[in-house]
């Protein structure tokens, strides 16, 4: 019995200390050659991105933001993110996100934006009357302008939807009503810089 207990203690303490020593070892191994990546073969990228944040080098479009806009860190969804700051301290947010295919459809997505402004959803016919077309090069944007309520009072969303062959891009400017309206020309000019790679 007197031998058993110290043995138990020794084993337990050894295990406890082993728990604290998880070493990061460099591994070397040989594996069958991976299938060449999309970049190497020219095949469209497979939807195997395990990273939640988009790889900026694989985005099929490019844009040029105005020099007065400040780039912000991308979140897990955003492919572009900017802050517009006014002289009076007002701030508006510009985001660029994309979804595969038609991403649930235009009506649902525009109503999603309306929901962010606490506005009631519109029917497909009403949506058709609330949108405008903007053409730039070979790209066609569907542009909307909604005013509703945000956490800090009247808020405006000026949005543009760009449908490509296999994904849809959403450009959104959101900010205090008056400031967002003032930023509208810069946002429209920004949309005109968007081009396919």
């Amino acid at each position: 019995m007197f031998l058993r207990v110290p043995l138990f203690i020794f084993v337990s303490v050894t295990l406890l200390f082993a728990a604290g020593c998880r070493d990061a070892k460099i591994a070397t191994y040989r594996v069958p050659r991976e299938t060449p990546s999309a970049k190497e073969t020219g095949i469209a990228p497979a939807a195997e991105a395990t990273s939640l944040t988009p790889d900026p080098t694989t985005i099929p479009i490019v844009w040029q933001a105005p020099p007065t806009w400040t780039p912000k860190a991308l979140g897990t969804m955003r492919k572009g993110s900017f802050l517009i700051r006014g002289d009076d301290g007002s701030e508006a947010d510009v985001s660029i996100i994309s979804f595969p295919g038609f991403a649930g459809g235009l009506v649902e997505n525009l109503n999603r934006w309306r929901g962010q402004l606490k506005l009631p959803p519109l029917t497909a016919e009403q949506i058709a009357g609330a949108t405008a077309e903007l053409s730039s090069g070979n790209l066609k944007f569907t542009v909307v302008d909604f005013v509703g309520e945000g956490p800090a009072g009247p808020t405006r969303i000026i949005g543009a939807v760009l449908a490509l062959s296999d994904e849809t891009y959403f450009f959104k400017l959101m900010g205090p009503d008056v400031f967002a309206e003032k930023s509208r020309p810069a946002f429209i000019d920004f949309l005109k810089t968007v081009k396919t790679r």
Binding site: I26, S51, P71
Partner: protein, 386 residues
């Protein structure tokens, strides 16, 4: 000497120690629950429960401020074992308590072994795709691959921790030394040509020369992950080969030639290779008729082992995982318009221990209550008859 030993034994068998340890564990659980708001469940488990001490970073030095889960659990285990070795006596009347305590010991050991040995990975497969590796959720690695052979890849996988340490890395299989110029636990990258007043490029070679790097706050959210990045410089015998920006945001490897070989650089989820390949034959997302309410998710896969002993189809559904070669494959999620199946892959050699422990504890309580109940009936019958 004998006195020291007896006081040592007395300390470990004492019921006071049990009470103190249980009180400490209550405080530990309470603090960890509060801190979960800041750290998220994963980091809390590591910081509070799977550690000997809870460490606070004071002026850059980790200072132990409270006993951690392994310390308290370990002492409880020793306390319980010592009590049985020195204090309790095995009798039929107390057999239930013994069984219950045995179950408790197994439960404590089970948690220790799970903490030490459990590994969790993810396997993402598009329909028709075959993979022989799964990927870690949280751990990343810098893979430097000699891609000169058309059939085989020679991989040197450097864990993220080594990049974070900042120390230069020299591996016999690499003809160059890897120096870590900077490391970021969480950072985002953007194309410089899309940014007004873009900051200087962080690297000189490949895509790093066209990107801007923005460090971000470390996230502890459960549904979010940090995206580490690093700027590395490679040195051959003749000097610097240039600097590369490696980021987990970049899906494509960066390719370069050196010493007559083609090399690929990729900062990616840490991979765990299996001696078998899994192909996703079909992913099914069944809904209740006429609704969008999910009814069942299942993946029909094909498993083929390298040694040819296994070559079969398997259906994995939500409560029917595949257990194979020490790994368990659960249906976890799906993506890409139902074309991609995501399987959770878990390796836990001690997965049976909690079940055995709970059965033993249940049985022990049943036996103990049964003995008492039986004693009570006997006593009552004797009282009535007298």
């Amino acid at each position: 000497m004998r006195d020291i030993w007896s006081s040592f034994v007395k300390f470990f068998v004492s019921l006071q120690l049990t009470v103190v340890l249980l009180s400490l564990s209550i405080i530990l659980i309470f603090a960890a629950t509060l801190d979960q708001v800041n750290l998220g469940i994963w980091a809390v488990q590591e910081k509070y429960f799977r550690s000997l001490f809870v460490l606070w970073n004071i002026k850059g030095f980790p200072v132990p401020v409270f006993p951690g889960g392994y310390f308290i659990g370990g002492l409880l285990f020793i306390n319980l074992v010592s009590a049985h070795a020195f204090r309790f006596k095995l009798t039929w009347k107390k057999s239930g308590i013994f069984l219950t305590h045995l179950g408790l010991m197994l439960l404590l050991l089970g948690e220790l072994f799970t903490g030490l040995w459990q590994k969790e990975y993810q396997l993402r497969l598009d329909q028709g795709q075959t993979r022989s590796y799964s990927e870690s959720y949280r751990d990343n690695e810098l893979a430097i691959t000699d891609a000169s052979d058309p059939k085989w890849d020679e991989v040197v996988a450097i864990p993220e921790k080594r990049l974070a340490s900042g120390e230069p890395i020299q591996v016999a299989k690499l003809p160059f030394r890897v120096a870590i110029r900077s490391y970021y636990t969480n950072a985002t990258v953007q194309m410089r040509d899309q940014l007004p007043n873009a900051p200087a490029a962080p690297a000189t070679r490949d895509i790093g020369a066209k990107l801007a790097l923005f460090p971000m706050a470390i996230t502890y959210k459960q549904d979010d992950r940090n995206l580490p990045a690093a700027v590395i410089e490679l040195f051959g015998p003749e000097g610097s080969l240039g600097t590369w920006l490696v980021s987990t945001m970049l899906m494509e490897p960066q390719i370069f030639d050196y010493a007559g070989k083609t090399w690929r650089l990729s900062f990616r989820f840490a991979r765990n290779y299996h001696p078998y390949a899994i192909t996703l034959l079909k992913f099914s997302h069944d809904r209740y008729l006429g609704t969008d309410i999910p009814k069942n998710f299942s993946s029909k896969i094909h498993v083929r082992s390298d040694d040819g002993k296994t070559d079969r189809d398997v259906l994995i559904s939500m409560n029917n995982p595949l257990r194979y070669d020490g790994m368990t494959f659960y249906q976890q999620s799906f993506a890409n318009n139902d074309n991609t199946s995501i399987l959770q892959v878990v390796r836990n050699p001690s997965w049976l221990l909690p079940y055995v422990a709970c059965i033993l504890m249940g049985l022990g309580l049943l036996v103990q209550f049964g003995i008492h109940l039986f004693g009570f009936f006997v006593k009552r019958r004797t009282a009535v008859s007298s």
